[in-house]
């Protein structure tokens, strides 16, 4: 199946790398890692939680879009300069809005996101407690009330 097509395909091919070139970010650290592995790790952890603004539902750590490339470069450069990851995140949020961060920040708008798991936890505990205390009472008051056996 993988045969090299003559002339015609070659012409089409000439366009291909050029096209790919145009689409990729040329920012210095878009496709280059930091030399310090610890810093690269920190940069990577941050990049995985930042949203690519142009693509749909991808983090900047896994996108080929030019803006994702520039943002990667920006994150790496700032981490290299010694900035803390959360500072970079706040800076980006300030510029691009909450949308850019996959980690929702606690604000008046997003507090339900953090309250809801607690509510679920409470409901779960109550549900289980109620169920099991009811069971205990029923058993204390008379084993005759148990349901029929299968």
């Amino acid at each position: 199946m993988r045969r090299v097509l003559p002339a015609l395909a070659a012409v089409a091919m000439l366009g291909a790398p050029a096209l790919a070139q145009q689409e990729q970010s040329t920012a210095p650290f878009a496709y280059r890692q930091l030399d310090d592995p610890a810093k690269e790790r920190a940069a990577m952890d941050l990049m995985e939680t930042l949203r690519c603004l142009q693509c749909q539902g991808q983090s900047i750590a896994d996108s080929d879009a030019p803006i994702a490339g520039s943002m990667r470069s920006l994150v790496r450069e700032r981490i290299k300069a010694g900035e803390a990851p959360e500072e970079i995140r706040s800076w980006l949020i300030e510029r691009y809005g909450d949308y850019v961060s996959y980690a929702p920040q606690l604000t008046e708008l997003t507090w339900p996101l953090f309250a809801v798991p607690l509510v679920f936890l409470l409901i779960a505990v109550l549900l289980l407690r109620r169920r099991f205390t009811l069971v205990r009472e029923a058993e204390e008051h008379g084993p005759g009330h148990e349901g029929e056996e299968a």
Binding site: R32, V100, G147
Partner: protein, 655 residues
């Protein structure tokens, strides 16, 4: 002509669904009993007609009949045949046709073989199935007709998104749909049982194979989808908490809970209302998922239908179906008794705890997926992603895994921790040793740490129910449980290991240059152009070697250019060893003539999907076990009935 036949079959099927609903509901009344008899045959014919329509659509795609609008928009004459066929359901209209087809066929199948339940419950069940189908038929025929013609006929089709031109796509959506829609049968059974108030072990046994089958398909579908995203998107990620992924995860979570509670109902006649509730919730999650994906309300990689009219149609269907079912539940739940009681420390107790925890995770996923929409309505855009979902679901998953390790060893109804405690010594020690080793050797983040230690402990504990049993006589269903639970542990270790130990290397190399990633040496040997049926590509030939003296293997990642529609994709190349996977992607060419390579060494990563497959295999074993037991039981009862009849006849003859 074929397209018109398909459309006619679809209208006819819709009309029959109407008849099925009418017959089923009137059959429940005293006067309409005669009508009840048409319901089963109608359900079968309706399923066959839908299937026929679906084959018509496949046919027009296979021959690339460009006068059909859907084909012209989504196909291309130069595509390989398998992708032409897969293209039939790789779009909005086709996938909705697949939906009604699976629903119709499943309903027909139930009508054909299910004889254990009281006839009234069956009528209500099939009427429920018809009611839901009817909504989707209306949706299909009124707002997304897959057989619409196009005039003038275009010379060539617009092609299919290259990302979707992959064997993974050919089977991923149908698998998921079988799961989604299989849950509709559980939903209809729940409705049927609520209408006639017949909730008990017989109902659970009738419903269980459907839940199991749907759950197996969902498991396989999610596993395959995750692997597809992993190798096709070219960045080594395997789960993104993308709304579309969540849409498939939510029915799975609900189905997992349902699967366990239906088993309790079948074995112990406990958890009646809870099981019915989960039956309603599971299919509701399927519909919510479909709504999220199909309405285009979330724009993500998968959302290829962006049309608000359709969105509101599905939303209306959703409101009617779920609202109706919940109302029925609210009206009837009080009159269905809760069933047998049990102590907290018992098999049922453990199952209840995990059911509640699963539902809590479901709630979080649902809330986190929908919240950005709520926020947008309030005028702000927020993103909810992995940093939210991972810790929040772990909050409930960690206790769940602990209970999962203990639960299968407990006895039904009432048990004592002291009895099983000694069995847990080894897994507990494994957890401690693993934890100590991780702390000493590697610097691992909290979640992967928990995943690794719990995964190892659970792996051992999940095998404990086999202890002291005669393995040859062990029922298949128990094997299924053990395999599935072991699969959870395997997948957990894979996920955590990927997250904790992956090494990444992004480099620009010259031809002939050698670079290192983890234990691998990678040499860029040459770059050459290659061509496929509807694409051309630059292919890198990489020579890779594990360790200093491993065998040299060739890897060939490609950077592909499709011309219909024009788009670039990276085809990653993977090399699997027993202890992990090497993942290579070819990037672009730099100005200095160097080539970009993206390389990852991901230790134990294949365990994620191996675990997923084990989970599905466990389900399959359980399904086989249950079905053979059911068949044997029904054969026996038939025989008893025959014998009785024969005896009666003898007696009559003597008299």
């Amino acid at each position: 002509m074929i397209a018109e036949l398909g459309l006619a079959a679809l209208w006819l099927a819709a009309a029959l669904a109407g008849l099925q609903l009418l017959g089923g509901s009137l059959g429940l009344t005293a006067k309409g009993q005669a009508l009840g008899r048409v319901v089963r045959p109608v359900a079968v014919v309706q399923g066959l007609l839908a299937l026929f329509a679906f084959f018509c659509l496949i046919y027009v795609f296979a021959i690339t009949d460009l006068s059909v609008k859907l084909v012209a928009l989504n196909s291309h004459s130069l595509k390989p045949l398998v992708f032409k066929i897969a293209g039939a359901w790789g779009n909005h209209e086709g996938s909705m046709l697949l939906w009604v087809t699976v629903m119709g066929v499943a309903g027909g199948f139930v009508a054909l073989i299910e004889r254990r339940l009281p006839e009234r419950t069956m009528l209500a069940t099939l009427a429920g199935q018809a009611f839901v189908s009817l909504g989707f038929y209306a949706f299909l025929l009124l707002s997304s007709n897959p057989f619409e013609r196009l005039s003038p006929v275009p010379a060539e089709g617009q092609g299919l998104n290259p990302l979707l031109q992959d064997l993974g796509l050919a089977f991923h959506p149908p698998t998921l749909y079988l799961g989604y829609v299989g849950l509709s049968v559980a939903f209809s059974f729940a409705i049927g049982a609520l209408v006639t108030r017949e909730v008990g072990p017989a109902f659970a046994r009738a419903m269980r194979p459907w839940v199991l089958a749907a759950w197996i398909f969902l498991t396989v579908g999610i596993t395959a989808g995750s692997y597809w995203a992993y190798y096709e998107l070219g960045w080594g990620g395997w789960w993104f908490w993308d709304p579309v992924e969540n849409a498939s995860l939510m029915p799975w979570l609900a189905a997992t809970a349902l699967l366990h509670s239906v088993s309790v109902l079948a074995a112990r006649d406990a958890l009646r209302t809870w099981t019915v509730m989960l039956g309603v919730v599971a299919f509701s999650m399927s519909m919510v998922g479909t709504f999220l994906v199909r309405s285009g309300i979330l724009t993500s990689v998968h959302a290829f239908a962006v049309d608000p009219e359709r969105g509101s149609f599905i939303l209306a269907l959703l409101a009617i179906n779920i609202g109706g079912a919940l109302t029925l539940f609210a009206l009837r739940a009080a009159t269905v008794s809760e069933g047998a009681r049990f102590a907290p420390m018992s098999r049922e107790g453990a199952l209840v705890i995990n059911n509640v925890l699963l539902c809590a995770i479901l709630g979080i996923v649902l809330f986190g997926t929908l919240y950005p929409l709520v926020a947008e309505a309030l005028g702000a855009q927020v993103s909810v992603g992995p940093p939210y979902f991972n810790p929040m679901s772990a909050l409930f998953a960690v206790p769940m895994l602990v209970v999962l390790a203990i639960g299968p060893m407990l006895r039904w109804r009432r048990d004592d921790f002291a009895r099983i405690g000694k069995n847990l010594v080894i897994p507990a020690m494994l957890v401690v040793v693993m934890g100590g080793a991780l702390v000493a050797v590697a610097d691992v983040a909290l979640l992967p740490f928990l995943g690794l230690v719990l995964g190892v402990g659970l792996g051992w504990a999940s095998l404990l129910p086999l202890r002291g049993r005669n393995l040859r006589r062990l029922p298949l269903a128990v094997w299924g449980m053990v395999v599935a639970h072991f699969g959870i542990a395997v997948a957990l270790v894979g996920m955590s290991s990927e997250s904790a130990f992956s090494t990444e290397k992004l480099v620009a190399v010259e031809v002939g240059e050698i670079t290192q990633v983890g234990p691998w040496g990678v040499k860029l040997d040459r770059i050459e152009p290659v061509a496929g049926p509807n694409w051309t590509a630059l292919e890198a030939r990489l020579l890779v070697r594990y360790g200093p003296d491993g065998k040299v293997t060739r890897l060939t990642p490609q950077s592909r250019t499709f011309w219909a529609p024009p788009q670039n994709t990276s085809e990653s190349a993977l090399l699997t060893r027993w202890n992990g996977q090497l993942y290579a992607v070819l990037g672009g060419e730099g100005e200095d003539g160097r080539w970009q390579l993206r390389l990852w060494w991901k230790p134990l990563v294949p365990l994620i999907w191996l675990g997923g497959l084990l989970i599905a295999l466990g389900g399959l074993l359980a399904l086989l076990g249950r079905v053979t037991t059911d068949v044997r039981r029904s054969v026996q009862s038939d025989r008893i009935a025959e014998r009785r009849e024969g005896e009666e006849k003898l007696r009559e003859d003597r008299a």
